[in-house]
Symmetry: C2
Subunit: 324 residues, 2 copies
């Protein structure tokens, strides 16, 4: 981690979150800001988002990771996984809908999808809207995540109720190795590099090769990517690396998620060699034939217009300019 | 202000920023987070963005408002106007470029533009790219803002160097009353409701009527609007009110600005009755005929694709769904 990251941690003690009772009965997270939680990821030194904590709901530790859930004043319940903000109830749907539909709406008639990570169930919930799907597999390493989401976030974990879903508790890296070649139409990686066990390995080249192998020709991968506002973000490098591995089209999209650092999240979409995929122009719109699956209503954020708009990049990302 | 807003102010004392020297020599803003500045606008209770302060650069008070500038650890210089974060060097160009070009690229051959507020010069800088402009007027009430930006932000205040610019120091409301009918092709309001003197009045109905009157038939207004993530934001109401006053097309756009609350900023575009204006499809692209005016290079964020994409709205804003 950078010097600045260390400065945050050591001098202000915003991370890791430690609950204690202050003298006036409020919940405290470090002595810095009593009653508030500070999200200060090391990749974003020198800044933090802080949230007023109304109530601590859960704190637990599995053999893999720590999970911490609190009710915030204005963003609903917020989940912290190993010290990183994973989602808030206020805006989780943006990430879940976009990560899922940017992939599944870009190919005709998807039948088999694999979710790696995603133990909250939100990606399953969104996949459930696609009536063409016959098989929705999920491989999540940590059963605690699934259990806790079912308890505290029924509107997210509802995805597990789709009868097409098969749950595999285990390591995504090992699971992918065991998958026969060309099995899936789409694979959705719902595991941030900074989050959870095995995440580092998930992002590495050999793992992505196993993802490409498990996809049919012209099959697609959707995975979150760093924000374009991060100073270490170099889009050309990411796209070049993915093109080498997947050999089909590769594209970057972005959208708003207020609780994430810099307020945006990026997505990388990759297609394997085969029938060409034009990620920017969805050919399988879900808004055309509404099917809510196990959900209670239509998507809150995603539509075909927003899909295309997400691939429209600022000039500084097109190599024509610099943001600095 | 809401209860939550008061809670922030009174119990954590994040606002207003007060410098003092702590025992270890660091700059302090209240006792809550020594060495960090907390941006906690009352419209966004229960959350705040905090920035590590490397150095305090300026603190001053005119007859109208207070201005506070510091060098942040990772977002460049940050400006606080009357307790509200106005801009950071890291991302100011997004707001300035979009607010300007969403208007000026939507109409053919603009010749006269008025900027109300905008004493930093950034909107002038962007207007300067439009070679069709013959007259760029700006009415800013507070000369201190102009002077301080010229001193600390030469790359923003460079807009004042365009020979087509005329500066009027005075009240924008009074200035608009004195403008002959149908004078301008475009008017750009660069005064947040929360920011600066007269801002409340700027936003009111009578003022907008004087803006409409000062625009030629088919002329356009561009003004920042609240983030779609604010719980009090009701797009239908804003659009209906503006349609009544301007009588032409009215549209809402949004984009990413990391330092603003929720990480996005909204824009309202209004056209007066006359030649129809299709804000979503710019007919006067600046990327087609590069002309940098007084700037050093091309826009960093804006391009015609991003222009159109900014008008693509999430489903929850289209009335088909709710974000809550």
């Amino acid at each position: 981690m950078s010097e600045h990251g260390n400065t945050i941690v050591s001098s202000v003690s915003l991370l890791p979150p430690e609950t204690e009772n202050s003298s006036n009965g409020d919940v405290c997270f470090s002595s810095a800001i009593p009653g508030w939680y500070a999200d200060a990821p090391p990749l974003w030194p020198g800044e933090a988002h802080v949230y007023k904590v109304e109530k601590v709901l859960f704190r637990g530790k599995s053999e893999y990771q720590e999970l911490f859930i609190f009710e915030s004043a204005t963003s609903g319940k917020i989940v912290i996984l190993n010290g990183y903000l994973q989602l808030s109830e206020k805006d989780e749907f943006v990430y879940q809908e976009m990560l899922t539909h940017l992939a599944l709406c870009s190919i005709p008639n998807p039948k088999k999808v694999l979710v790696v990570g995603g133990g909250d169930g939100g990606i399953l919930r969104e996949a459930s809207r696609h009536s063409s799907l016959e098989q929705i597999d999920i491989c999540e390493i940590d059963k605690m995540v699934i259990d806790v989401y079912k308890q505290f976030f029924p509107d997210i974990a509802v995805g597990f109720e789709d009868p097409r879903v098969s749950v595999y508790i285990g390591d995504g890296v090992e699971f992918l190795k065991s998958v026969p070649e060309a099995t899936y139409d789409a694979i959705i990686l719902d595991a941030f590099q900074e989050m959870g066990p095995g995440a580092q390995e998930l992002a590495d080249k050999h793992f992505l090769e196993s993802v490409a192998r498990a996809l049919r020709p012209g099959g697609v991968l959707s995975t979150p990517a760093e924000s374009m506002w991060n100073k270490n973000f170099i889009l050309e490098d990411i796209i070049a690396d993915c093109r080498k591995i997947f050999k089909g089209s590769v594209n970057y999209a972005w959208t708003t998620v207020p609780v994430y650092s810099s307020g945006v999240v990026g997505f990388i979409l990759c297609a394997t060699e085969g029938p060409p995929v034009d990620f920017k122009h969805p050919i399988n719109p879900i808004d055309a034939v509404p099917n809510h699956g196990v959900t209670k209503g239509p998507p809150k954020f995603y539509n075909s217009e927003v899909h295309t708009a997400a691939f429209c990049l600022p000039s500084f990302l097109k190599g024509g300019s610099s943001k600095n």
